[in-house]
Structures are given as C-alpha cells and as structure tokens.
C-alpha cells in the first residue's frame, strides 16, 4: 500500500516545508526559553563552583552574600581559620556595578559583578579557578582579572568608581547568578569601592562631623580625627568563604562557627537552594509561564494547520471513503502528516535554537535532555492536534462525492 500521507506531502512539499519552518521557528523559541532557564540555573551553579568554597559565612539571619546584603568584620576569617576542620578561609566582597572601559574616543560601561578577593593565588577561596590568558592577582591594589565576556583586553585599563585598574588576567565562565561577567580586584580596593564617596560628599561629611558637639569636644584632642578616620574606612566584607579539610563534614564544621561566632553559615546545598529556589525563582516561574503559553500556542497552530490541510481535502476524503478506503487509512494519513509536520518543525527549531543561542547576551544552555523532552512534547502535541482533523475527516459523508 502506498503512503497517502507521503504522496500528499511530496505533492505539496513547498506549502508543507514552509509551514514546517514557521512552526519550527516557534519550537525554536520554546527550546530557547528552556535554554534561558537552564542557563540561569547553570549561572547560579557556576557562581558557587567558582567561589571554591565549601561553606559561606555571612551576617547572622541573612541570606547573603548573593540573595541579601551581608556585612561582617574583615578580621572574622582569622578566628574561623583556627576552628576545627577549616582548611582555608578568605574574605570576599561582591558589588554589582558599572565598570567603565576606554574605547576609541569614548567610554563604554559594562555591567559586571566586581569581586573583592585576597590575592593569594589559585585554589584559594574566591579566586578564579583558571585563567585563559595573563596571570592571577599578585598585588594588593589596582589589578583586575576579568571574565572575557566583559570584553576587556589584557593590559587594558578599566575604571571602577574613581580608581583605575590594569587587567592582568582573563578568565572564562565566571559570572554572577544574573549572568553578569565577574571582575576580580583586590579585597582592599573592593572594600573601599563599596562605600567610596565623592570628594564633595567627603568634605560635607567632615564638616557635619566637626559641627557635631558630641564628636568635636574642645577638651578631647584627637577625637574628631579618629571619628573622621573611622568614617572613611570600611572594615567589613560580605562573607568569608571557607574550604574544609579533606574528609571533613561541612555541616560539622559549620555548626561551631554558627555557635561561637554568632554568624550564619551555609553549606553548598543550602546556598544552591537559596540561589535557585529564592533568587531566580520568580524569573524561573516567568519562563515556565512563557513555556506553557508557547506550548499551547504551538499546539493550537499545529491543530489549525492540520485541520486546514484536511479541510482542503474533504472532496478527496469523500472519494476515498466512497471507493472503500478504511477509516484507519484516512486517520493514518492525517496523523502521519501531523507527525511529519512536527518532525520538520522540531528539526528547524533545534537548528534555529542552536544557531541563535550564542547570540543572546546571557548564557543559554541547550541541554540534550530538554531537546528530547521537547521532541516528545512536539510529537504528543502533533498527535493530539491531529485528533480534531481526524474527527472531521471521519465525519465526512462519502455521499459528498456524488453530486446532487
């Protein structure tokens, strides 16, 4: 028996292929939306992986340092280093801000997550895991290591707040949970940049302090200078990143830090939970809504296309039924066409998504698993969508082939 569906597709292949391409672009958008969600989750995991930490020590009762502000004193890490099970500990500060780059005849602002780290070399908590060019931070001031996605070149000078930094190293896939590229600078610079005021603001603050009789007592020499000095320094960091000793249980190491240091400590699993279930939860729901709507729209379009194609063949279907074609042969013809349309659409969609995903400003992760799930969903949608057309075809009266 010849394939009626195949012959019909070959006969009007142009219409079929163009319809498939249209559907494919829609499927491509759906796959890309799934890729955007996967990219967000991957960015969150990458942030945790790149920190090189087993524990995050943050201000008590906060979800810091990524989901909420956290502020702890920068000498806290010394006490933590002396606790049982702790291998290494380092301060870290995160600031999401605009980093200014000098370009031909002007400037370009790059949205970046500036990370203040202790320049202790690779493997230390907070350090970029690997470099693709240049070297790690070695000096205490005005050096930077940047993710290549920021678009900075080795040796280039970039501006963070009022200070300029030389890019000494380039790394890859070091991004914030929001997908912004990271720029690593020495911790002291980051602490300064976090609360750095402009000169006018400093002058005004000093004047206000001097006018405060409680802080500028005639009989207490040096008090005003001490107060002003304390106002212009920042002794806090956002978190202390802790690596535990080999074989140590992170939960067991975390417990005494919580108890004795009066700080909140998160393990990797807890931090992952915060990032994925809290920080990107709303965005994920937004994308899920888009996916549901796109799936419904795709199903409606497939149903409409198959129904229209079938309605265009009503007379032929009536003739086929009149000359003795079985209902299941007619149903199979429509079903096969729906599946073929879905196949063309999926192939076009997958190729489209693969080509345009790298163009997106944020990371789009197209997982094979999602592609397989997408393929199954497309096939199910096509089968369901063909039901309407099959019902209509089976209702066709063979008498319609006879005039009168």
């Amino acid at each position: 028996m010849i394939s009626l569906a195949g012959r019909d597709i070959l006969h009007s292949w142009g219409k079929f292929v163009f319809t498939g391409i249209g559907l494919g672009l829609l499927i491509g958008v759906t796959l890309t939306m799934a890729g955007v969600y996967r990219g967000m989750v991957d960015d969150a995991n990458v942030l945790l992986d790149n920190s090189g930490a087993d524990l995050w020590v943050v201000q008590q009762d906060t979800l810091g340092p990524y989901a909420e502000p956290s502020s702890i004193y920068d000498d806290t890490y010394r006490g933590i280093l002396g606790m049982s099970g702790v291998a290494r500990a380092a301060n870290v500060t995160y600031l999401t801000m605009q980093v200014r780059q000098q370009v031909d005849g002007g400037t370009r602002d790059v949205r970046a997550m500036v990370v203040g780290i202790t320049p202790d070399g690779p493997g230390h908590p907070g350090q970029p895991g690997y470099l693709v060019d240049g070297r790690h931070l070695t000096r205490g001031h005005y050096e930077a290591v940047a993710d290549i996605a920021a678009g900075f070149a080795l040796g280039e000078r970039i501006r963070i707040r009022r200070n300029e930094y030389t890019v000494v190293g380039l790394t890859r896939r070091m991004v914030s949970s929001g997908g912004d590229p990271m720029v690593f600078i020495p911790i002291k610079d980051a602490q300064e940049a976090q609360f750095l005021k402009d000169n006018d603001a400093i002058v005004m603050q000093r004047a206000r302090t001097a006018q405060n009789p409680a802080l500028n007592r005639p009989g207490v020499p040096g008090l005003l200078d001490a107060v002003i000095a304390s106002q212009s320094t920042n002794p806090t960091v956002n978190a202390v990143l802790v690596q535990v000793k080999h074989g140590a249980d992170p939960d067991a190491v975390a417990e005494p830090i919580r108890r004795w240091k009066r700080l909140t400590v998160y393990t990797r699993a807890q931090m992952q939970d915060i990032l994925i279930k809290k920080l990107i939860a709303t965005a994920a729901k937004q994308i899920a809504m888009f996916l549901v709507i796109l799936a419904i729209v795709s199903a409606a379009i497939v149903a409409f296309i198959i129904y229209t194609l079938t309605m265009g063949k009503i007379r032929e279907i009536a003739v086929l039924k009149l000359i003795g074609t079985k209902n299941r042969t007619i149903a199979a013809m429509i079903l096969q066409q729906a599946i073929a349309l879905g196949l063309i659409g999926f192939v076009v969609g997958k190729i489209s998504a693969t080509f345009w995903a790298p163009i997106f400003p944020k990371y789009v992760l197209l997982e094979s698993g999602d592609a397989i799930r997408g393929f199954v969903a497309v096939m199910v949608i096509c089968v369901l969508a063909s039901v309407l057309a099959i019902r209509a075809a089976l209702k066709v009266d063979p008498a319609e082939a006879i005039g009168g």
Partner: protein, 243 residues
C-alpha cells in the same frame, strides 16, 4: 483480508420497489416511491430525469451510500438490501462490487494516474506491483497509458474522465454507477466516453447505469429509465452507434 463476495454468473443489478423517504411526519419527503430496475451484465442503461426527480438519491442508494427506506436490491445472487442492509460491510461492498464514475473525475490530486487507478486494488489487498500492472493494462485499454506517470492536474478533461473510468473498472465490479460522466465534456469527448463505457461493459461483463440529462448521449442507450417524482418508467432507447 476483507470478506470476498461469491462470484456470480449473474452479475447484473436488480432493484424492486425501492423507496426512500427523507425526514419524518409532516415534513417527510418521498424521494423514491417504489423504483424497479434491472440492468444486465454488459449492458449500459440511461437513468434520466429532471432536477429533483430522485436520480441522485437513487444513485446513492444503489451505491450503498445512503440507506433506502424499503425495497430490495440484489447484485448478482447476493441480496444487498431487503428492507434493511444484508451486507455488514458496505465499505468493502463499494470497493469490490461497485465502480463509481463521477461528473467531475475527482482524481486524487497527489497520486499520479497509475496510482489513482491502482489505489483500489491496493486497498483490496493486492501488492503494489500487481495493482499497478492491473492499472496499466486498463489505462492501455482506455488509451491513456502514455499519461500513466502524469499528475491529474496535467491531464485534459477527457483524459481525466478516462482515468476516472479506469478507476471505476479496475476491481472488475459487476456494476458501475456513472453520475453525469459527460457533463463537463464537449460532444466529441462525451461520445468518446460513452463509447468507452459500452466497450468496457462488454469487455468486463459489467452492468453500467449512467445518470444523465445530457441530450447528446441519450440516443446512445438501448434502454432508458425515466425517473420522475420518485417513480421510474422504462422505455426502449435508440441505442445507435456502439454495437
């Protein structure tokens, strides 16, 4: 495999007291009021009548497409209808026992000429090669073999109608119902189609009923059934030209 009907030496179709009523109660319309007809194997008869006389209703009843209200129909020795269908599978009956030739050829536009004709034997379970061979033989007999690879849209009106006749004949049905087969054709082509139907009726021992109100072809029938207000009247035709 579908049920195969008994081969019969008597391949004609006989209709006795066939009635068809549409609707119920006060709105009921009697389209057929007790029609009698017999068409012998190898015979071509005309069924003529004005619009609304019941021609199409009769054709649909004969084609097992709609169910009559009462009466009896036999095809060869098989009783098809006797105040109710006596054949459980009307689809197989239509496929194996009744050939259709329509006013418009209604060829399947996405199948070429050979496959349009071969589709019926394929549906009956024959292999593709066997069905195509059978189709080619018939196309040769109808002088359209040279168009066997063409798509229907590439054929002239006369060629399409010949392919349509081939499709109606391909399973060698005992009866062919032709619904206004010459309506879209000019006189020359209309006569050619009638000539072919006569040849095929004799060659395959098939009873052919031609529904028409085409004045050009009416004189070609040896027997004519006039239908008016749901009742048939038989008369001898001129029957000229095709013996």
């Amino acid at each position: 495999m579908d049920k195969q009907y008994s081969d019969s030496s008597e391949r004609g179709i006989r209709i006795e007291g066939l009635k068809k009523r549409y609707g119920h109660g006060d709105t009921a319309v009697d389209a057929l009021k007790g029609v009698d007809m017999y068409v012998a194997p190898g015979e071509v008869v005309g069924l003529v009548g004005p619009s609304g006389s019941g021609k199409t209703t009769m054709l649909k009843c004969l084609g097992a497409v709609i169910e009559p209200t009462a009466g009896r129909m036999t095809l060869g020795r098989d009783v098809i209808y006797d105040d109710g269908w006596k054949i459980p599978d009307l689809r197989t009956l239509r496929r194996d026992k009744i050939g259709f030739v329509f006013q418009a050829p209604y060829l399947i536009p996405f199948l070429n000429v050979t496959d349009n004709v071969a589709l019926l034997p394929m549906l009956a379970g024959k292999s593709n090669a066997e069905a195509r061979k059978q189709a080619i033989e018939l196309l040769k007999a109808l002088d359209v073999e040279h168009r066997s690879s063409a798509m229907p849209s590439q054929l002239s009106g006369g060629e399409q109608q010949r392919v349509s006749i081939a499709r109606g004949l391909v399973n060698h049905p005992p009866v062919i119902l032709a619904d206004e087969p010459t309506a879209p054709l000019d006189s020359e082509r209309a006569m050619a189609v009638i000539r072919i139907l006569n040849q095929m009726a004799r060659q395959f021992d098939t009873a052919i009923i031609v529904v028409t109100h085409d004045e050009k072809i009416i004189p070609t029938f040896k027997r004519i059934y006039h239908i008016r207000d749901g009742v048939t009247y038989e008369e001898a035709g001129e029957g000229r030209g095709f013996d």
